[in-house]
């Protein structure tokens, strides 16, 4: 069992997806539309596949929405 904090909420995994890319696939989020932070650090879009996730990481997944 492992925990990732995703957008402010703890999510429990049998096994944490190994990379940011794997997490986005697991969550069914199109990686072309999001920007991500891990522990407050912005992950460059091209680096999702080699961003290693571990138990206890704080992940933010952000995207554009309508706004003025």
């Amino acid at each position: 069992m492992a925990i990732l904090k995703i957008n402010g909420e703890n999510k429990i995994f049998e096994k944490v997806p190994s990379t940011m890319k794997a997490l986005l696939e697991f969550l069914n989020v199109d990686d072309a539309t999001v920007v991500a932070e891990v522990n407050g650090q912005i992950i460059p879009r091209g680096s999702f596949h080699n961003t290693i996730l571990q138990d206890g990481h704080n992940v933010e997944l952000i995207r554009f929405v309508g706004g003025g």
Binding site: I6, N7, G8, E9, L27, N28, V29, D30, T33, V34, V35, E37, I42, I43, P44, R45, E60, L61, I62, R63, F64, V65, G66, G67, G68
Partner: protein, 256 residues
């Protein structure tokens, strides 16, 4: 109409459009098209993990419309900086509508935090378009530190009250060497035309279009009003007098 230039980029349209509050992405896209805008604002929010497929950006043709990410939701400079850097990471564009609004009831921009964030963002290479109260001293300070525009409010965001800050915006325009974009509070095309007639370089409209009964028609109406107001400004207005000044000749009357 003279072209508008912001940070070296030419705009034919002087109407910028916000993308919030539309009933659907389709209506939004059609309204954007009807407005003939070339720049649209967008906000950054957490992905809804329960509904991960929702992607409004797919409805916006990035070849036709420059995205202007905003820092809405930021309550201080640090939160604005974080959103700005995320926006740049997400889009590879460095244009930014900087807004810092600590109080959600009036959503008035915090001048101190805005100036603080603007200084840092300009140094980091952002093209900063700050949303400000209609404060000529602040506008001048932002101009001096290198923001690309200033964007004074006409009235509180989404209030549709019109040009409540007219006298202060006139001073901002008089002393500006960068474009002045009137942002927030313009509720009707006539309000936008008034801002343009007095020499604003552009206006930014969201609520007035998005929440109209027919947003697409309202977008078209704003397009015309902004054009008309700008052309009137370029034409130079006739003088106002306290008495009549006959338009027909005062000679050759049919009387003795």
């Amino acid at each position: 109409m003279k072209k508008l230039i912001i940070a070296g980029k030419e705009f034919t349209s002087r109407l910028f459009i916000g993308t919030g509050k539309y009933s659907s992405n389709k209506i939004m896209a059609q309204s954007i098209e009807a407005s003939a805008t070339e720049m649209v604002t967008v906000a950054l929010r957490r992905v809804d993990i329960q509904n991960p497929q929702d992607n409004m950006l797919a409805a916006i043709d990035r070849k036709k419309y420059l995205l202007l990410p905003n820092t809405s939701g930021a309550r201080n400079a640090d939160e604005a900086l974080r959103l700005a850097r995320l926006a740049r990471a997400a889009t590879d564009i460095n244009w930014l509508k900087l807004e810092v609004t600590p109080d959600p009831y009036y959503l008035l921009p915090d001048p101190i935090e805005t100036l603080k964030a603007a200084e840092i963002l300009v140094k980091e290479g952002f093209v900063v378009l700050p949303y400000i109260n209609a404060d000529p001293v602040l506008a001048k300070k932002l101009q001096d530190i290198g923001t690309a525009t200033v964007m004074p409010l006409a009235a509180p965001i989404g209030s549709n009250q019109g040009l409540k800050t007219k006298a202060a915006i006139e001073i901002i325009i008089a002393q500006a060497t960068i474009p002045v974009v009137v942002d927030a509070g313009l509720g009707m095309p006539s309000h936008a035309a008034e801002a343009m007639e007095m020499g604003a370089d552009a206006v930014l409209i969201n609520t007035a279009i998005a929440t109209a009964n027919d947003p697409i028609k309202m977008a078209e109406a704003f397009k015309k009003a902004v054009q008309a107001g700008r052309e009137a400004f370029e034409a130079g207005s006739a003088s106002v007098k306290n008495h009549a000044d006959a338009s027909s000749p005062l000679t050759g009357f049919l009387r003795d």
